[in-house]
Each structure stands twice: as structure tokens, then as C-alpha cells.
Symmetry: C2
Subunit: 316 residues, 2 copies
């Protein structure tokens, strides 16, 4: 690969390809957590728990309710519906490729998938299940005992809340969506992206979207200020005025499948979301052509969905 | 097979095997509906619809919510939780092997799977989705159009409520659970059932359970009087006093996975359910041994669960 092309004054497609090598990356595998190494036994258990509505106090809400794997890991609602049919305050981010992030939740109040998973189980408006009751419920289902023993070998009392979320996180690390058109393009298939999508990618880089949306998940995962709506974002838990309206940068993988958009789900279409992001975050007014090009690029980010068989849950 | 053994006065195991050939049958395939022949395209579409929460007015409840294929086609609740977190009046019967029945719902108010599927979608306390709105919602998801065109070829306007339920019913006809221990036993594997389960099967026949619980689904599917609780059963829609407390005979396939039991989900354990059924329906007081034997037999009715991959639903 030639180096130094970026010193040229005009930004041709070829030169932007050079830039792009730094901004984008293919999805290969999710990063591991050294404190919770993935094993097939943990993934299998985590899959059961992810789909098990008995982890909720009502017995009808599972992780999969709001992170529906048939709907690209979301619920396609502006904000989710949880325990007692309460509306949650924010839009459910996709679980697909969530393993690429350290900051979890829109407001970054959890670090890593394990800590994240503790939230919705216990949240009164989501699964409404206190941690000790979750452990008690799972322990009462004898069929789970062997799964926990296999997933956490050598532990005397493996059914703990920490192990429940470790298993769920291990399963979530398998929920990645490789081989979308961008991935194939980056690997050298120059026809994988349409000419319009390539133009969109170039505009995306040129106007600065890649300053936040880069890397394999097309997100730095950082907390960034986004002045939209009344939600205080990170300040809602730090109570620090400097964190006002800071939100975790979202992944753009599969973004065309995960509307409505933003933390409050207030925006229906990708076209509108792109226009707003350019204006609010970059002070840039997109032309209709630029907007449509970027949307064409974003639509190329639909990867291979994880193939997940509905697990047969332990009955008793 | 020897004929005429049943003329003997004592009921030995061998003789009961003769009787059993008449009472039981293996599960091979669900009966077809000539008005809705199964095709792979219809099954594929039906699977999408079965899992699609957008068929509910809230967007979070799908057929699979109450008929969870990970929980043997039920929700494992006494009575279901539906729209607005309302409790439904009755226990959700399993969708597994439901195709064997003409009478549908506990009170038999629908005939066949197609008519059944119309109920929960529209019921205010379940999915709360008027038929015309369901059609409108599905039509608004362009990705569905091709699926309907393939499933109902030659139809000018294939996205209709009738076709929605036809597709769901076609998928449901694939949800059968063959090759349980009884099936293998009936095919000649005399070790498939434990000695206790065989004793239980014989008691089951001897005291008359098979007068209602026979055939491949271990249910005649008929409406029978069961005087339990305050639910008027079939009379709730016929308003005929003669239908008071008549309920559809339930399948016993996978029954150990589908508690709590009865139309009101009032009974937690299979042991208790068996004791009550013998007493109330047959006037027979089971000894502890007989009860445990029958339960061992019923536990042998767990078949091969359908392998269903979480479908990728059309996004827009």
C-alpha cells in the first residue's frame, strides 16, 4: 500500500481509500474479557439465560424481548416496554456487536457486557428481578444446575448473579455480524459497495463522521456530547454538569435495521438521523445527494446475522 | 400380533399391550388442512409471523411470547400476561402438537389452527391488534411482500388476515414432537419405557384415562366436562347450560414441561394434576404408587423438540 498520498491537495477516491484504511476495520471477532474467557459451555448457558423469561419477576420478559435477535438485536420501538408494560426512558441499543464496547448503556453507566447485563434484569421498569431472587429462581430450576457446573467448573456454588451475567456476556460475544458489504470491500472486493455507497463512505469520512464512528463497530464507543432532547445522558448518574448530554457513540453496523434512532427513539428514518447528526455534531448541512449517499453507505453495513436456534430451556 | 388375548380375565402386561395398540399411536406428522396445504414457503412466512411482535398493537408481543418454543410451546405461567400486562383468563395451551386438534382454545370456540390464530392477535388482553390494522402493519413492512407472494402465488393481493393466519397455521403444523419414549416403545423398543412407566401406562389404561387421552397427541381433542374452578368453559361462548364446564381435552405429549396445569393453571405439579384428574373425571382415588407410576409414564412423553432458528424478520 502506497504511503503519503494524503499529502495531495484534492481528495480523490483513491486517496480517501488510504484514509479509510485507518477509519474502518472489518468485523472478525468480538474482543474477549480476560476476566471472563469465552468457553462453549458458558456460551450455551448464556444463550439459555438470554432467552429465559423466568429471569424476570413476571416470567414473561427475557433479554431477548428488548434485544430481539430477529429484529437485529433491538425491539424496533422508540423506547422499550418492560415490567408492567412500563415504558423505559431510552431506546434499546442493539445487542449485536455490543461486545465491542467498554461503555455500556446510552449513558455509559456500566463498563463491559457483564456489568451491563446486571442492569435490565434488576431494573424495575425492565425485568424487575432483584439479583438474589434471580439466583433463587434459577436455582429452583434443577435442569440449570448441570449447565452452571459445566460453565463454571470447580466452583462450589456456581449459580450466582455474577455467573449469570458472565454467561450472558459470553453468549453476547458471539453475536457479531461479519461480512457485510463494507467488510468485503475492505478485504479487496471493490464491487461489494455500490458507487453511491462508496461516495457516501467518502463523504462520511470527509465531513468527519469517522471521528466518532470508526473501527470494526463503526463506533469509538466513547462518551460524546449530543445535544438532542431533554435526557441529561451521562449526567443522570454522575450528577456532574460537565457530563450533561453525553451519550455513548452507537455502532452503525446494521443501523438500517435498528430504527427508530437516537437515545429517545425520536427519529424514524435513517435519512433524518443522518441529517441531524451532521448538523448537530459536525455543524454540516448535508445536501440531499450527500445524505442519500451516506444512507446508501450505511445500508451496506448489514452483516451476517448470528444463526441462533431457539434453545430448549430447562423445564424444572 | 396375536389377536384375542383381551378375552383373558386377568390383565397382564402382554394383554395390556394389545389394548394399548388401540389407545396410543406414534406421532409421525400433523394432519393437513385441505383448505390450507402446507408448502415450504408458507411455513417460512408463518415462522416469521409467529415470531414477529409487530403483529401486536404494542409491538412487543408475538405468538411466541405465550407459546414460547423454548418452554415447550407455553409460557409456564398460570394464566398468560398480554397487552398492557393484563392477565388472560386462561392458561396458554402448548402450541406443540396443537395441529392434531380440531377444537381450539380451552373452550373450543375455534375450529382448526387457522381460526385459532385469529383469536390471540385480536384479543384485547393478548396482542390487541384489530385484523385490519394487522394487515396494514404487515403491508407497511415491504420485506414481507415477497414472502406473501411466494407463499400465496397467483393471488393479486396476498397480504390478508386470512393468509396471515394460514401461514401461521402452516408453521404450527411443523411443531410436532415425535420420537418420545412411548413412540419408541410402540415401535418395538421395549426398553424405551422404564418398568415404572410401563406400569403407569397400564394403570392409565386400566382406570380409563385413555377414554379421553388416546391417539398420537394422547388426546381425543373432544370437549369434555371437567368440573374444576369457576370457569364456565364452552358455555362462556355458547351460553348453553349444557356446555357448562366443558373443556377441550389437552394433549399429554410433553406434559411434564408445560405446568402449571388445567385451564386456570391452578395446579403446580403433575402429581397433583394426575390425582385430581383421576378423582374428578374417573371417580378413582389413586394410590401413591399408582400416581407415581402414571407420572413416570407421562414424563416419558417428552419428544424431540422442533429445531427452530430465530428468524431474521423483515426490517422495513
Amino acid at each position: 500500500m502506497a504511503v503519503g498520498c494524503s499529502s495531495s491537495s484534492t481528495k480523490s477516491t483513491g486517496q480517501l481509500t488510504e484514509v479509510r484504511q485507518g477509519s474502518f476495520a472489518t468485523i472478525v471477532a468480538a474482543p474477549e474479557n480476560p476476566d471472563n474467557p469465552t468457553t462453549p459451555e458458558k456460551v450455551e448457558l448464556g444463550k439459555l439465560l438470554f432467552f429465559d423469561p423466568r429471569l424476570s419477576s413476571s416470567g414473561v420478559i427475557s433479554c431477548a424481548t428488548c434485544h430481539n435477535l430477529g429484529l437485529a438485536g433491538t425491539d424496533r420501538l422508540p423506547t422499550s416496554i418492560g415490567h408492567g408494560f412500563q415504558r423505559t426512558p431510552r431506546n434499546a441499543p442493539t445487542v449485536l456487536n455490543a461486545a465491542f464496547f467498554q461503555n455500556q448503556f446510552w449513558d455509559g453507566r456500566a463498563q463491559g457486557l457483564e456489568e451491563q447485563a446486571k442492569g435490565p434484569i434488576q431494573a424495575e421498569a425492565e425485568m424487575n428481578m432483584p439479583a438474589d431472587m434471580a439466583v433463587e429462581r434459577i436455582k429452583s430450576i434443577k435442569g440449570y444446575h448441570e449447565y452452571f457446573e459445566k460453565a463454571f467448573p470447580g466452583e462450589e456454588d456456581p449459580i450466582t448473579f455474577d455467573n449469570i451475567v458472565k454467561a450472558i456476556a459470553a453468549f453476547e460475544r458471539t453475536l457479531i455480524t461479519p461480512n457485510d458489504a463494507l467488510d468485503r470491500y475492505l478485504r479487496g472486493d471493490k464491487n461489494a459497495l455500490s458507487p453511491q455507497a462508496i461516495r457516501g463512505m467518502e463523504t462520511f469520512e470527509r465531513i468527519g463522521c469517522t471521528s466518532c464512528h470508526a473501527g470494526p463497530a463503526l463506533s469509538s464507543g466513547a462518551m460524546m456530547k449530543f445535544d438532542w432532547g431533554s435526557d441529561p445522558g451521562k449526567a443522570s448518574w454522575t450528577n456532574n454538569p460537565q457530563d450533561e448530554k453525553f451519550f455513548r457513540v452507537q455502532t452503525l453496523r446494521n443501523v438500517s435495521l435498528t430504527g427508530p434512532y437516537f437515545h429517545d427513539g425520536s427519529v424514524e428514518t435513517l435519512e433524518e438521523a443522518v441529517t441531524i447528526m451532521a448538523r448537530v455534531q459536525l455543524g454540516y448541512e448535508l445536501s440531499d445527494q450527500e445524505r442519500d449517499d451516506i444512507v446508501a453507505f450505511l445500508r451496506s453495513l448489514v452483516g451476517e446475522m448470528p444463526q441462533v436456534e431457539v434453545p430448549v430451556l430447562p423445564a424444572e
